[in-house]
């Protein structure tokens, strides 16, 4: 069986799996799964650009996805009246302090004698940090005092949320540039630890800097890029549609709204996929693979390995950021407390490895399949546990087993990852080697 045939077949099976949910349970559920599959696929594409193209081991996906999410929030939410007036001046001064600190640090780096460079640079940064805090603390206090029950943060720009997707990508790219500058060129494990750290820090900032993100109070009611389900329920054409398919208007409205989301997400996925494939076939992609497969040889041929790594790290993180913004858009809310590295970092890794690292089509398939299994494993786990315990008398053991059902899917994901690594290390759709 040729590789193309195999890919087509696997995608067909995936489509059937989703259709099966539609037929057996409901189309709204099938579309909900499809939407998250699409977002997961975009995220997996981003990771595949870093790992599959360049062999960079990024364990900070959660942080970049969260940055994308806050990008969407800051662009789309309406501005909070009075918040900027309350803390704007101090905020500007704090920003000025950051810029000044960076400038001073760079100056020290350039001009100070070599032996004093690091201590002086550090001292500059620490001093700059305290200067920034002088302005930031009153600013955040003033902003958080503005209508704390419903706002208490700066709010956004009130622009369409689709612009927020691009901004989310830019945020993630900016963070990736900083992290990459610091840690690329070190050995791969160090990059992994550093990205693990940066994602925790990003989450800590998003949870605690209430003046910017509302923190754990969450931002809800994000504007939608597609018509609201409740508005759709009133529309005449929805009623006609519902009558034609023999359902009620509520279901029809939900299906139409989710389909609209699916179209948007699919469009993003296709654009990113097209760009990624173009890049992979271009000389640039060939160079990236050369660097991945033999770094020393590529360096000897005059390729700027660290520079290329930085480039690909930024690009991949931007894609993850866009996916993060899409996720927040779909949820309609930004909840920093809900980001968990198992779900947002390591699950994406399972997707890429299972799908086939280095192959974009594989990464997308992995995104679809693993998300599907992740969603389906929870009810399946409960079902299995119910079956297993149905004969038992009620007691602590039975309760424990029922309560443990949700953890079965963690087990399943680990098992899938280990089995694929062992028996099909190149994944479901392996990377193609062209001559």
């Amino acid at each position: 069986m040729s590789q193309t045939m195999r890919g087509v077949l696997l995608y067909a099976v995936m489509a059937l799996l989703i259709v099966a949910v539609g037929l057996a349970q409901s189309w709204t559920l099938a579309l909900a799964i499809l939407n998250l599959c699409l977002i997961s696929a975009v995220m997996a594409l981003g990771v595949n650009i870093q790992w599959g193209y360049a062999g960079l081991f990024n364990v900070g996906i959660m942080g970049f996805a969260a940055l994308g999410g806050i990008g969407a929030v800051l662009v789309s939410m309406p501005p909070v009246p009075g918040a900027l007036g309350a803390g704007g001046v101090n905020l500007g001064l704090a920003a000025l302090a950051i810029v000044g600190t960076l400038g001073a640090a760079l100056y020290v780096r350039e001009r100070a004698p070599v032996s004093l460079r690091t201590p002086l640079g550090l001292a500059t940064v620490v001093a700059g940090y305290f200067v920034m805090r002088i302005f930031l603390d009153p600013a955040s206090e003033a902003i958080e005092a503005v209508d704390p029950a419903s706002a208490g943060y700066l709010g956004g720009l009130g622009l369409p949320i689709l612009i927020g997707w691009a901004v989310g990508g830019l945020f993630a790219a900016g963070a990736a540039y900083l992290v990459g500058k610091l840690t690329l060129g070190l050995r791969s494990d160090y990059l992994a630890i550093a990205t693990l750290g940066i994602s925790e820090i990003i989450l800590a900032v998003l949870k605690n800097e209430n003046w910017l993100t509302r923190g754990v109070k969450n931002v809800t009611g994000l504007p939608r890029p597609v018509p609201d389900e409740r508005v759709l329920q009133e529309a005449h054409w929805i009623a006609d549609l519902a009558a034609r398919f023999g359902t009620d208007t509520i279901t029809a409205a939900a299906v139409v709204a989710r389909l609209a989301y699916a179209c948007l997400f699919a469009a993003v996925l296709l654009i990113v996929l097209w760009l990624a494939e173009r890049a992979l076939r271009a000389p640039w992609g060939r160079m990236m693979r050369a660097i991945r497969d033999n770094r020393d040889a590529a360096e000897a041929m005059g390729k700027d390995v660290t520079g290329r790594h930085l480039q690909v790290f930024v690009l991949g993180s931007a894609v993850v950021g866009i996916a993060g913004a899409m996720l927040v858009t779909l949820d309609g809310q930004f909840t920093p407390g809900s980001y968990n590295p198992l779900r947002y970092t390591f699950l994406i890794w399972v997707m890429v490895i299972v799908g086939g690292s280095g192959n974009n089509w594989g990464a997308i398939l992995g995104g679809f399949l693993i998300w599907y299994l992740w969603v389906m494993a929870e009810p399946a786990g409960s079902l299995i546990m119910n079956r297993l315990t149905s004969g038992m008398e009620s007691g602590p053991l039975r309760d424990q087993m029922l309560a443990a059902a949700p953890h079965l899917r963690l087990f399943l994901m680990g098992l899938i990852l280990l089995l694929v690594l062992r028996f099909a290390p190149s994944g479901l759709i392996p990377e193609r080697t062209r001559r």
């Binding site: 590295p341 443990a404 087990f411 098992l415 690594l421």
Partner: protein
């Protein structure tokens, strides 16, 4: 004079003692990570969850012992349950090695494949731990909570500030000293320990000299299980047990191992204390401390806290980045491949 003493007591109570106890826990964790790195040559992402698993078994055993009225008097019952947790962790790690890691070792796969496999193992350990004990917070400290109570200290010294030393803190430090000395004695003095170091230095040469690699790997996993379970139990006694917290400990532990010089046992200890002390020092609010030292009119209005406690992960990360920039091999010159 009294002011100075009060300030120092305050600092010891809230910075020095907690930081040393936390440092001891991190050091034990980092020692495990670094041993795996030295002998098996990969960063084990499942280490936090190994700690969680061992601790979960210890907790279950502690509850069983408490249920039967068996205890250690002033010491926490968990110490009695420790061997059971260690045995369970040894079993788990050896089975994992047999089923997962051995295959890649035989094929001499690149380290990143082993790291990937350890991510899969991490998921599975996570599931097992949650399966046996749930996701919630568990406290299992019993016995005498304090070795030195605030009131006793005040009565003893007549100072305004009190000093309290928790039993768990004393136990942490004592156990850490004992365990670390034993591990170093083992690595330096015994035949097996020397074989381990030889294998870590140069695998091929060690094989040529007739060192049995399977045995070295097995002993390494056993040591790692002991260290991880003890580190996890001490952390749980000192703070509390929650599977997710243990997963998050991965970051400071890795940071400690790298800062000290990865693959260097001494480095892991030093790194653990560096990370822990900086974390506590940076996130402590110095208002009370400064109020004692400066004239009344200069007393600070704010908390004088460099970073909020929620940013403690940032501290490990920043130290890690600084060390990687200034001295990429770590304090004790670890290996860099």
């Amino acid at each position: 004079m009294d002011n100075l003493l009060n300030a120092l007591v305050l600092l010891s109570n809230f910075v020095l003692i907690p930081a040393i106890a936390y440092g001891a826990q991190l050091a034990l964790g980092a020692l495990g990570v670094t041993l795996i790195y030295a002998v098996l040559r990969f960063s084990n992402f499942a280490h936090g969850d190994t700690m969680a698993f061992g601790t979960a078994i210890v907790i279950l055993c502690t509850w069983w012992l408490q249920g039967h009225g068996i205890g250690l008097g002033p010491l926490p019952t968990a110490l009695l349950a420790l061997p059971v947790g260690i045995l369970a962790a040894i079993l788990l790690l050896l089975v994992t090695d047999r089923w997962v890691y051995r295959f890649y070792r035989a094929r001499r796969s690149p380290p990143v494949v082993l790291v990937m496999a350890s991510v899969g193992v991490m998921f599975i350990y996570n599931a097992i731990t949650r399966f046996i004990i749930g996701t919630g917070d568990q406290r299992f400290e019993d016995g005498a909570r304090f070795t030195l109570k605030v009131g006793d200290f005040k009565a003893l010294t007549g100072l305004e500030q009190g000093l309290a030393i928790r039993t768990s803190q004393i136990i942490t430090i004592v156990v850490m000293v004992v365990v670390v000395s034993a591990v170093f004695w083992f690595l330096q003095r015994t035949r097996t320990g020397k074989a381990m170091r030889a294998y870590s230095d140069n695998e091929d040469l060690a094989l040529l000299s007739g060192i049995n690699p399977d045995r070295v790997v097995m002993i390494t996993w056993i040591l790692v299980a002991i260290l991880a379970t003890i580190a996890g139990t001490l952390y749980g006694l000192d703070k509390s047990f929650r599977p997710f917290t243990y997963f998050q400990l991965l970051l400071p532990i890795f940071a400690a191992a790298i800062v000290g010089g990865i693959g260097q046992p001494f480095g892991a200890i030093a790194g653990g204390f560096v990370i822990a002390i900086s974390e506590v020092v940076v996130t402590y609010a110095y208002k009370g401390f400064l109020t004692y030292l400066v004239p009344e009119s200069w007393a600070p209005a704010g908390l004088v806290q460099m970073l909020g406690t929620d940013y403690k992960f940032a501290v490990s990360f920043i130290i890690l980045v600084i060390v990687l920039l200034v001295r990429p091999t770590g304090i004790f010159r670890g290996r860099v491949i």
